[in-house]
């Protein structure tokens, strides 16, 4: 009999093994999220929305009520749920396109309105599911299906600094951080704080997770990790960017 590996309680065993590619970072981000949900004891209050792209493969991932939406529209759907039923803990899970391209309008405005939802964005520098096109976070000179000669920043700009943008817009009460699948423990800490921020009703919380996509990067395991651990942090700073001021006891 196959031994079922240790999984977060909020994970749905029946839909494992999951559908993500071998070496994909989503599995690690969702593990961090699953453990955070377990530790906070909110499994029966969570509504989980996922976007289009590889994030959609998480639609049946958890034993929580989940809805897969349209590309870039996860933030507004989840915002709509939260506004109607503030007691629910609402999570919008998306990729770099869903947050920084087609969904940027919604992300920016949810942040500006300080919506009490938690957005988790997986940044792997490309549009994975559709075959590896350029994303807002694609690195300069990086080859993708729509930048076959390498991304030229003169023509297409530099990688979007999403959490920094969100932190610049939001006011007191928001929580903004960037973690990495290269340090899952730290990432889990950020996600947990982000969810706690929503539980306390402080404001908008946002965590970007640097992640890997060996399938579209065409990298082996060693090179994949090198990219995540060494190359990406040159463009995306890992750490907490904004947190609510500690309340006086």
């Amino acid at each position: 009999m196959t031994k079922v590996p240790n999984m977060p309680k909020s994970w749905r065993v029946e839909t494992k093994p999951h559908k993500f590619c071998p070496g994909c970072g989503h599995g690690l981000v969702l593990k961090a999220l699953g453990e955070a949900i377990d530790e906070l004891g909110i499994q029966d209050r969570v509504v989980f929305g996922c976007d289009i792209g590889c994030s959609l493969l998480s639609w049946d991932f958890f034993n929580v009520d989940s809805v897969q939406t349209h590309h870039g529209r996860t933030t507004p759907v989840v915002t709509g749920v939260k506004r109607a039923r503030p007691e629910l803990i609402c999570i919008a899970y998306m990729g770099d396109g869903g947050g920084y391209a087609i969904g940027s309008q919604h992300l920016v405005n949810a942040a500006a309105r300080n919506e009490k939802v938690t957005a988790i964005l997986v940044n792997n520098c490309n549009y994975g599911m559709t075959g590896g096109q350029m994303a807002p976070t694609t690195l300069p000179q990086m080859k993708t299906e729509t930048t076959p000669y390498g991304r030229d920043p003169e023509q297409t700009g530099y990688p979007t600094q999403g959490p920094e943008m969100v932190a610049a817009i939001t006011r007191e009460g928001s929580y903004v951080a960037r973690g990495t699948v290269a340090n899952v423990r730290q990432l889990k800490g950020f996600i947990k704080k982000a969810l706690q921020n929503q539980i306390e009703g402080n404001g908008f919380s946002f965590v970007e997770a640097l992640s890997g996509c060996p399938t579209n990067w065409s990298t082996n395991a060693k090179d994949t990790w090198a990219f995540i651990e060494e190359t990406m942090p040159k463009y995306f700073k890992v750490g907490e960017i904004k947190a609510p001021a500690k309340k006086e006891e």
Binding site: W59, Q68, R73, V77, G80, L88
Partner: protein, 361 residues
């Protein structure tokens, strides 16, 4: 804070947009999501003034894409949520409404048609018929009511919530800029007074109990992997829609039994059509009027039966044939000649219909 927004029945004088806000209150709507666009802004102006008094909510979103999707979210959470829009805003809402079609989300959307295409005018038209009935990348699995008076705007906005939640298809109240802004009297009433019971709402997300333990989690999606899978899904949706269509379809007829010429018109134009029929009949001419109230589903069989004895159909609309397409689709195979009195973006009076019909007779 007052308990019920409308107690008993009250005669009032209002604009159409205000009627929508009051009707939503009477229907116990919980939350409105919206974005400003003329000519429906007063729906929000009045909702935001009244909502706090009755513990109702509102969110102004960043655009109509978001207004549509947040409405889906509110409905998924189990609340009576609605939104309103017009013109280019309606165009943007097609994405969210096609998600609602696929996932059977009972959204309520009030459309106050304005000129098209593009920005055009903020004033009036009937040019959003095709889009409201068949917009998005779907099969038009929607329910669309076309109102012609403030009393109907009130009645059908309340009804829209019940239709949506009972049959679980996105439901639309199709008005227009004239109805939105013009003023007339009507009766506001507590639906309970008329024996109308509001359909209970149930959440799709955030249900009671521990998912995976007390119950299965709710896992909702709108994407599929293979052609065969999709065919099954869409077939099921279509079957469900066709099953409920006979219960939902509504239409009116005026002097059609022995009519030689039948005027077909919807929405506010039905007023002009009804007035024209009165005038023409008083002059001894055998003219009748068929008015679809639901544009989707369309009363196809009923119209087919009615036109069998007619010599001519005249479709009258403030658009370039959007109603006419629905008519032709409905009665395909019938050989009765069809003419169009088509005036995109312009109001139509009874007098001009009378003149047009007489010229042709």
């Amino acid at each position: 804070m007052a308990d019920k927004p409308i107690q008993g029945e009250k005669r009032v004088f209002m604009t159409g947009n205000e009627v929508v806000a009051w009707a939503a209150l009477a229907a116990e709507a919980d939350i409105m999501y919206g974005y400003p666009i003329t000519p429906q802004n007063e729906v929000m102006h009045y909702w935001t003034r009244l909502a706090p008094k009755y513990g109702k909510r509102f969110l102004q979103t960043e655009d109509e894409i978001s207004a549509g999707f947040t409405t889906c979210g509110g409905v998924l959470a189990g609340k009576r949520a609605f939104t309103a829009t017009a013109g280019p805003g309606n165009t943007l809402m097609q994405e969210s409404m096609s998600m609602a079609e696929m996932m059977r989300i009972p959204t309520v959307l009030v459309v106050q048609q304005r000129g098209g295409p593009s920005t055009a005018t903020v004033i009036y038209s009937q040019q959003e018929v095709t889009m409201t009935c068949y917009g998005g990348n779907g099969e038009g699995l929607r329910i669309v009511y076309s109102t012609g008076s403030h009393q109907e705007l009130y009645d059908y906005t309340i009804k829209a919530f019940n239709t949506a939640w009972k049959y679980r298809f996105p439901t639309f109240v199709l008005g227009d800029g004239y109805q939105a802004k013009m003023r007339e009297s009507l009766y506001l009433y507590d639906p309970a007074l008329k024996g109308i019971k509001m359909e209970t709402t149930t959440p799709y997300l955030g249900l009671e109990g521990m998912p995976g333990v007390d119950r299965d989690p709710s896992h909702l999606r709108n994407t599929y992997n293979t052609e065969e899978e999709l065919y099954e899904v869409v077939s099921d949706l279509v079957a469900a829609y066709e099953k409920i269509a006979p219960e939902v379809v509504e239409y009116q007829t005026f002097n059609t039994d022995d009519a030689e010429v039948i005027i077909i018109a919807h929405g506010v134009v039905t007023r002009a059509a009804q007035a024209a029929v009165k005038t023409l009949r008083s002059q001894g001419l055998k003219v009748g009027h068929f008015r679809p109230v639901t544009l989707r589903p369309f009363a196809a069989q009923q119209l087919r039966d009615i036109v069998k004895k007619a010599k001519k159909l005249v479709v009258v609309e403030s658009a370039q044939g959007q109603l006419m397409k629905l008519v032709k689709d409905a009665i395909y195979g019938e050989t009765v000649p069809i003419e169009g009195y088509l005036k995109p973006g312009q109001g139509i009076t009874g007098e001009e219909i009378v003149e047009y019909i007489k010229k042709g007779m």
